[in-house]
Assembly symmetry: C2
């Protein structure tokens, strides 16, 4: 087992990464101060991993409420959030109840925002079971639901008390979701770590073959890079915006297509390719580096261009992005591999060039 | 103008109290860092105070979005909250938009929780226009909406950047709401300040006659007492629970009657009388002090007993209170006038006695 720490002062917490951690309820139980937990999962993950987890927690003397939600990004909305509230209230869960998110990014976002808002906040643990959640969404305290007007528009910055990532759960992950998770792994390399990016280029086949050693390294490096950025800027007033490489375009794609049609990681992959393309148009990224970005995404089986979205609609969707400041959209761009920057002065013709080339 | 400070480290903020402050947009504008604000108000308050406020803000160079909600506790729910989100999104409000809550406790709770959760948090200002909001709900960062299963069940601890209380706005307040606000004023005296309680006993007629000097003193002392308690315990892990004197019974009354049938302050008044009655039954409050509590509430024109609620239902509603810990309800009780305590060991027969006497 490897352990990292997200350094956030009084809100600091550990990330444990390893094989078979789901079977170690003692690892989870040490973080739970009350006598009750509510495990939030979905209809796909629960049949695989819920009962072993509950058995372990029960053996530790904990009372466990099971909350099973429908599976998919399309359910990351108020209606599903309210199902959590209803069941917490029906079971008379109080402020000492610890919520455990057992699943992927959608479960983490829903359970995390429920924890942030139920009775004005209860503790929660992230137990991510997808690659995307293990390398990205379970770390950093971003929680949210979607609104018809935009992705992740309603939510909270609310840190978990711990993250426990069992890489064994990746064995049952559908191929498409494994690839979607790799988009965020590649993103982390591109942001700050050329060495890690080159390791991904060299090990992409092992990752796709689910070599647990390769996966453990990918999760560990990704969490370390993300934890470092989050520790510098918990509430995304500056540096943290770098983590949104590919997300301004990606969120627009997800909203345009309807939530759940493209997986988040797929939209981010196309978004990374577009951000790299925009960087090249602005003359800050070389053609050779752009090709390496496209190539590694393609080898991971990920899309590198957006679906057909009418240009005015695409521009409109991009302009409501949360990272906008004073009406100006700020793009995360690449100055090189392992070197990202935020720019608020992207000329319209370069943006139209990228959007046009993608459409 | 009098100014207090809520001492919460990096989240500290001032409370300004005085006459005519609504006309001093410069006072508000100094707290606004971006160029946009969204003023959230309701159909009762907006015709009286919105346009003067907007004119002042506009004169300070700010762009103002107006969001007008229906009036009443019955609208403190997800549907109304979503109206705020919809309008913020339609106006393309970004993370630099400051939300201003212009109204009573319901508007403060709705606008505050919208601020806590829109794009994971934007700054907000409280501009309370009712006595209840000025002496209580605008201070301390509690925001929430109701759920069919319980009052204030969904929300956040989220501090405003400032509170500006213009006592002139109390001139237009309906009598019933003025009296409801006095319940919280009386509560603050009972909690920690015998001298203030005795001042209320001596000045209740001036308060009911809306003497602005008396009202300013009542708002100032109430905010000072509340600010001190909140500074000790922002997230209600201990001391802050004292502020809930009368609220365990009061919330049960509100839920049983349907939100909005009894005003919050009316339910709290009956709840304070019941908490005092329970304290006497437990032998910690004298009969004479109980009579003084009842008397001042009655002179304020407030109810001192609960409506008819079947005993099993009353007990059920009390047991889901947020202040419950490990299944045990914790009651705020009085050891004397100006001296409140929290007790988790109230015998069932004493509770039934109080509930039976009230019903």
């Amino acid at each position: 087992m490897q352990t990292l720490r997200v350094e956030l002062g009084s809100r600091a917490y550990p990330i444990h990464i390893g094989r078979g951690l789901l079977g170690r309820a003692d690892l989870l139980a040490q973080f739970i101060t009350g006598s009750r937990t509510a495990v939030v999962s979905n209809t796909t993950v629960a049949p695989l991993y819920l009962e072993p987890l509950v058995a372990g927690l029960t053996a530790c003397g904990l009372d466990v409420v099971r909350i099973i939600l429908p599976d998919g990004e399309t359910y990351k909305n108020w209606g599903t959030l309210n199902l959590i509230y209803d069941q917490l209230l029906a079971a008379r869960c109080d402020r000492q109840t610890t919520i455990i998110a057992l699943g992927g990014g959608v479960i983490g976002d829903l359970a995390g925002f429920a924890a942030a808002s139920y009775q004005r906040g209860v503790p929660y643990l992230q137990v991510p079971t997808t690659l995307l959640a293990q390398v990205d969404s379970s770390v950093g305290g971003k929680t949210a639901i979607n609104h018809p007007g935009g992705k992740n528009m309603i939510g909270a910055f609310y840190q978990p008390i711990a993250v426990v990532a069992d890489v064994n759960t990746l064995a049952t992950l559908p191929d498409r979701e494994l690839r979607a998770g790799l988009a965020e792994v590649i993103k982390h390399g591109l942001l700050t770590d050329l060495e890690f990016f080159e390791w991904i280029e060299a090990n992409i086949d092992q990752l796709l073959a689910r070599d647990t050693e390769a996966l453990t390294h990918a999760v560990h490096r990704s969490c370390a890079i993300k934890a470092q950025i989050v520790a510098l800027d918990e509430r995304e007033t500056g540096t943290r915006a770098l983590l949104n490489l590919g997300h301004t375009f990606g969120h627009a794609i997800e909203t345009a297509m309807g939530y759940g049609v493209w997986l988040h990681g797929e939209a981010v992959a196309a978004g990374i390719a577009m951000a790299a393309d925009l960087s090249r148009r602005l003359g800050i990224l070389s053609e050779a580096d752009l090709r390496r970005v496209i190539s590694v995404l393609e080898r991971a089986g990920l899309p590198v261009s957006a679906p057909a979205i009418a240009l005015p609609r695409f521009i409109e969707l991009i302009s409501v992005d949360k990272k906008a400041a004073a009406g100006r959209v700020r793009f995360v761009l690449l100055e090189g591999l392992g070197s990202a920057i935020v720019r608020g002065d992207v000329p319209q013709d370069a943006l139209v060039g990228t959007l046009g080339a993608a459409g």
